[in-house]
Every structure is written in C-alpha cells, then in structure tokens.
Amino acid sequence: MTTDANHDVLREQVALYAIGALSGPERAAIETHLRECDECAAELKTLLPVTSALAQLVPQHDPPAALRATILAAARREARATRTPAALAPWLAAAAMFVLTAGLGLYVGQLREQVRSLERQLRDAMARVDDGERRVAVALREAANLQAPLAVLMAPDLRRVDLAGQPVAPNASARAYWSRSRGLVLTAANLPSLPPGRIYQLWFVTGGAPVSAGLVRPDNAGGLNAVLTTPANVPEPVAFAVTLEPETGVPAPTGAMYLVGPAH
C-alpha cells in the first residue's frame, strides 16, 4: 500500500506512461512513484502488451534489401575505428557477473577456503603418520568432495542456465552451471519447504523424454547448493526443469513444475 496522496492521480497516468506518451516532470514523477508502488507497477505490466501491439499492428513492409548491407558495413567501419581498446571489457563484465552472482561467488570462495583448510589438515595428517591412515583417507575424501564443484565451475565447456520460479513458487529462482564433461552445480533460493515424503527432482528436458539429473533437497531457508553428475549420454537439453516428486524420485516427471529455464 502507498500513502502517497498523489497515488490516485498518478495511477491514471500509468497507461499514458506505458505507451511513452509522458515526458519531462510528469514522466519523472511517475517513474519515482512506480519504484515505490507495487499496485501501479502491476498496472504498468498489464499495459505493456498494448504498447507492443501498437508497435506491431502497423502495416508491415520489408526494408529494402540494400539496407542490411549498408548497416553491416557501417558497423564494420566503426569497429576498425573504435572497438579494439574495449575488447577486454565484456570478459571483465562476465567475470564480474560470475563473482557477483547471488551467493555463488561467496560459495566458490568458501569452497576454496575449505579446500585450502583441508589440504592443510591433510599435510598435518601426513606429517603425523602415526595418527593412522584413516585420518588421511577421510581428509582426502573430503577434499575430493569439495574439488567436485570447483572442477565443474572451472570447466571449459561450462554453461549457465537461469531457472525462473513458476506459478507454484513465483519467488523461487535457481541457476545451474553445467559442464557436460564434469557435471552440474545447482544453486537455488526461495524454494518452498518440502512437504513430508517429497523431494525436488532436476530434469534435462530434451527433444525426447525428460532425463532425471538427480534429487535435491533445499535447506530450511529454501536455499540449495548441489553438485550432480551429467546423466550418461544425455541428448542436448532444450531446458532444465525442477519438479516436486515422491521422495524416492521418479523415472519421468509427475509433479508440479517449480523452476524452468532454457538451456542455451
């Protein structure tokens, strides 16, 4: 709810704003209001298809064939003149996004720290051979467990897939980092807590039947960090999806879809 006395006045203007018919102070006022008022923001959302339709409903004409070549040639000329110094920027931007990705950067950092710590323990354990081989084995295994997600995240064929919450879980979101050769790291947030006897199952949606990538259980806060293996010989996926299923998992999806995202 808003306490803004101008709300009723501004709400009347949302439709005009949606088609780009407001300018200057009127537009500034409504943009400020839209950031604070969920009701008006929702109203705007319902009007955007009208804006699209106004752009789409005009008589359709193909542009002259020569225009394409002209536009591409202009971009090439400009490329030679100005682009080179900035060539690194997209990679920096990509790197920054990777690090800033909600929680994941932190997660990678924690993993590295844990790996370093376990390696220290391992060295200590190896130094004190009389502590027995068992400690060495345990530390080795734990270090290997933590190397798995790092190995996936560093894979040369890593792909990122964003999964969006579906109507049963509109606030849920997830991101999968998938390498066909090394496996899959799934991070998720705001997943609804599991009903008794149920579990989330991740699917590779392919041209044929969906292929299970495994079962995942969120923590009490609805968060999730899971490392899964790539199903053997899985066809090229068109999407990843997460459904709610019986606790033992199912061979084909039966339950409601909680998350879905295109795999390219």
Partner: protein
C-alpha cells in the same frame, strides 16, 4: 502435455535469450550477431519507423541510426535491464519521432546536420515482449472500432509523439478530457489483447 507446457513457456524465453546472446556477441565485436538481430527484427522496426516518418528514405535512416546505436552501446547494455526487443522498439520509435519533429521544425536540415545530432536514449527501461500476431490483429481491430475522439488522440501520441497539451490544442479539447479519453482507449485495447479474436 508436460513437455508442451515447457515448450510454450520457452518459446518467448528462447527468442529473448537469442536476442540477449546477440547483444553479448556484439559487445565482443561479432558482426554476425548484428546481422542476426537485424534479420530477426528489421521488418517490425522498419514498418514502425515507416508508419511514423512516412517516407521510405527516412525510415531507412532511422533503422541505420538505431542499429548503429545498438552496435555502439552493446558493450554497455545491461541485459538484465529489460528485453532487447523493448530496447529496439523504444529506440526506433524515439528516433523516428525525433526525425519527424526535426522535419517539421527544420525542413531544410541537411543530412550531415541531422546525423550530428545525437539523440539520448531516454526510453523507459521497460520489459516489452512481443504479442502474438492474433493479439496484434485484435488490438488493430479494437483501435479501428474506437470512437474518433478516443482513437485520434492515441494515434497522435504514439505515432506522432505529440504531448498531451499539443494534442489538446490540436483537437481543441480540454487537457483533462484528452487524458481521460486516451486512458479509456488504452484500457479498451488492453481488453482486446487479453481476448484475441478467434
């Protein structure tokens, strides 16, 4: 059934993702990505520009300016800010309206002078996605069915870029009345989007 539901959801998402990927490739200097984006959207954008500026040569200029700006700004474009098609449509409309206004104000302006004038990208960062052909047709029919006193102000605002007060002056009607009629018109079109003709 389940698979179909996924595919329908993914249709729009896939198109939007292809656009985002093209922008990211353009940011790395990939000309093929610019060609991809042009091939997907030039017909829509050219038609919109032509509707606004009315002359083919002007519509071609608008498209050149739009794609040049997209190419230059691909590096800075935040693909989380809104959809790429939303960016393209608002950019095309504002460039076309700008050309229309300059044509009105300074019919003698030379090509060089026009190019030197860099239009700021002030379009609201909104999340436009395209509607289906059926929905666009339904809105066209609804627009044509509107009474003149609702349709004309709307067309003057969207396709001619006139301000509310300019429309009020042109149609010799009170400003409040114009605003009310335009809002009514838009709400009617919203109904038409929601229930496309069968």
């Amino acid at each position: 059934m389940w698979f179909l539901a996924v595919l329908v959801k993914l249709g729009d998402a896939a198109a939007a993702e292809a656009d985002r990927a093209a922008i990211q490739r353009m940011a790395r200097g990939d000309h093929d990505a610019l060609a991809d984006l042009y091939d997907r959207h030039s017909r829509l954008l050219y038609s919109l520009a032509l509707r606004i500026v009315r002359f083919e040569a002007d519509a071609e200029d608008v498209l050149q300016e739009v794609f040049a700006q997209v190419w230059r700004q691909a590096l800075r474009y935040d693909t989380n800010r809104g959809t790429v098609i939303g960016w393209l449509v608002t950019l095309t409309r504002s460039r076309a309206l700008d050309k229309l206004r300059r044509g009105r104000a300074r019919p003698q302006a030379t090509d060089g002078e026009q190019r030197a004038h860099e239009v700021p990208d002030t379009s609201p960062a909104i999340d436009l996605t395209l509607v289906s052909a059926e929905q666009a047709a339904a809105v066209r029919a609804a627009l044509e069915a509107l009474p003149d006193n609702q349709r004309v102000p709307l067309q003057l605002a969207y396709y001619e870029g006139l301000s509310q007060s300019e429309i009020a002056a042109k149609l010799d009607a009170p400003l409040g009345t114009i605003k009310t009629r335009m809002r009514q018109a838009l709400l009617r079109l919203r109904e038409a989007v929601a229930e496309p003709v069968r």
